[in-house]
């Protein structure tokens, strides 16, 4: 059994890696075969070279974008969890405010960003706010759902032993909500990055505050397609790394009971 497990784990890494290699090889082959100019489609080798050559610039931009992303993500987790706790404690509050959380979520950030950038003088803060608006909703909705998704039997049990509201919240609702909360984090971390990039696009901040979005914008205008690809690659890898970090965190916290609980349930 452990042998097949290990085999599965190897496959889980090897299979997508194999796909990546295949795609890169095909890409390279096509560029070479049709002799495509590098200002339209650069070959992956050229992208890699550009990535190395422009690393200093890209790394600086990455740091800018990452700072905004992480700040927005942290705020989204804090604010989202707080709102979810309030919602879970009062149906009335949830009913009155949840529609506005939805409105916040469905309004395209590109449409709102110019306003925020006008209203908030500090550009960095404006960018963080934009990304926060995009990232906060999954934390609110998932955590609220989680705090409410409590085994009714356990709730009866807590009532029978005369548990206080606080004991019910801390000993039952919070652990029950944990899997939902972490699922929210996975979505939210990616959205924070997307929000940060979109906001940068709208703001068009250059000079010292130039993030990855600005580099992509500039590279596009200058037809520096290899750099555009390189910046895109950095952005994508950052998103993947964020997601992976969230998966790791969620496994580290829930690993003991939740994942296995899910598989045990599906066996029934």
């Amino acid at each position: 059994m452990s042998a097949t497990r290990r085999g599965e784990r190897v496959l889980r890494v090897a299979a997508p890696l194999g796909v990546a290699l295949l795609v890169l090889a095909a890409w390279h082959a096509l560029v070479v075969a049709y002799d495509l100019p590098r200002y339209i489609v650069p070959s992956p080798l050229v992208v890699a070279q550009t990535l190395a050559a422009d690393w200093e610039l890209l790394a600086r931009s990455l740091a800018v974008t990452l700072k905004i992303t992480l700040a927005a993500f942290a705020l989204a987790v804090l604010a989202g969890t707080l709102v979810a706790f309030l919602f879970s404690q009062s149906r009335w509050l949830e009913m009155s405010l949840f529609p506005y959380a939805v409105i916040l979520q469905v309004t395209p950030i590109v449409a709102v960003a110019p306003l925020i950038i006008i209203w908030v003088r500090d550009t960095q803060l404006a960018l963080v706010l934009c990304a926060l608006i995009v990232a906060v909703f999954p934390v609110i909705s998932n955590t609220t759902l989680g705090l409410r998704s409590v085994d009714p039997g356990l709730l009866s049990l807590m009532r029978m032993y005369k548990a206080s509201r606080w004991q019910v919240l801390w000993r039952l609702r919070v652990p029950s909500a944990a899997p939902y909360f972490f699922a929210g984090l996975r979505i939210s971390s990616g959205l924070a990055l997307i929000g940060a990039v979109v906001a940068e696009f709208v703001a068009g901040t250059g000079a010292a505050g130039a993030g990855l979005a600005y580099q992509i914008l500039q590279a596009g205008l200058q037809l520096n397609v290899p750099r555009l690809f390189a910046a895109l690659a950095v952005l994508t890898l950052t998103g993947v790394a964020l997601f992976a970090a969230m998966v790791w965190l969620s496994n580290a916290v829930l690993g003991g009971w939740h994942e296995s609980m899910v598989s045990a349930r599906s066996e029934e």
């Binding site: 039997g153 009866s156 009532r159 029978m160 005369k162 004991q167 000993r171 009971w257 609980m261």
Partner: protein, 267 residues
């Protein structure tokens, strides 16, 4: 009742329960359970057995009628000598807590010091045959063992009244028979001085005959008491009792009562 009769642990006096949806779950049910008794509520699903137990556990109020615990209101529950515990249909263990912590939960909620709680939890686990599983997670246990842990959690507060809502209904026949036997041992093992009162809900005629001193039969929609059968057999009850003539005749009596009740309800 004579003066020497054991005192009532829980008394339901013409208790009805109508849900907000309009469903009448219970219709004027009166039932008294005396100290040290092992009473079974038997009936088809939907006859309000679980509702009745919920009311007896003070988890929900009756729509009309009165309930008394040890002769008093619900304020009496939980004081020394008047402790109540309930075992639910499923084990309802917290999957994120180890077995010992699950069992310790009622003591934690009552603010009992951790060390004393741990000792009590270990003792309760030993009583249900789960010594050595303190550090396991619930998912690592079989269904029957999870139920045992659930019973240990009920026993950890040293209850005087134990309410059990079809606790073994989801288990296989063999496991159920073992747990039934173990329950009888726990009930008998309490000694004459401080006797455990058990109200056990089941839809199994055989389980009712095997366990009870008295079986209360219920009919469905709305839930009413259809009759009572005393199982006047000595304890301890052996596996031989399960296949004896007398067992069969008790079971037949219950089945006839159930059938009559179901017919009457259908009319």
């Amino acid at each position: 009742m004579s003066a020497a009769a054991p005192r009532a642990v829980v008394e339901l006096d013409r208790v009805s329960r109508t849900y907000p949806s309009g469903t009448r779950a219970l219709d004027s049910v009166s039932l008294t359970v005396a100290e040290g008794e092992l009473v079974t509520l038997l009936g088809p699903s939907g006859c309000g057995k679980s509702t009745l137990l919920g009311i007896a556990a003070a988890l929900q109020p009756p729509s009309s009628g009165a309930v008394r615990w040890w002769g008093e209101g619900p304020g009496r529950i939980g004081t020394a000598g008047h402790r109540l515990a309930m075992v639910f249909q499923s084990a309802t263990l917290m999957p994120w807590l180890r077995v010992a912590s699950n069992v310790r939960l009622p003591l934690d909620l009552a603010g009992i010091e951790r060390g004393a709680g741990d000792r009590a939890a270990r003792a309760a686990l030993a009583r249900v045959g789960l010594a050595g599983f303190e550090a396991s997670y619930p998912r690592e246990l079989s269904g029957g063992m999870q139920m045992r842990a659930s019973i240990a959690r009920a026993l950890v507060t040293e209850p005087d009244l134990l309410l059990m809502d079809e606790p073994f209904g989801a288990l296989d026949e063999i496991t159920r028979a073992r747990l039934d036997a173990d329950l009888l041992a726990l009930w008998a093992g309490r000694g004459a001085g401080q006797r455990l009162t058990v109200v056990f809900v089941t839809h199994s005629v055989y389980e009712a005959v095997y366990l009870s001193q008295r079986v209360v039969v219920m009919s469905a929609r709305p839930g009413r008491l259809a009759g009572e059968v005393a199982i006047d057999e000595p304890y301890p009850r052996t596996d031989d009792f399960r296949v004896s003539q007398r067992f069969a005749s008790h079971a037949r009596a219950l089945q006839q009562l159930l059938a009559r009740a179901t017919e009457a309800a259908a009319r």
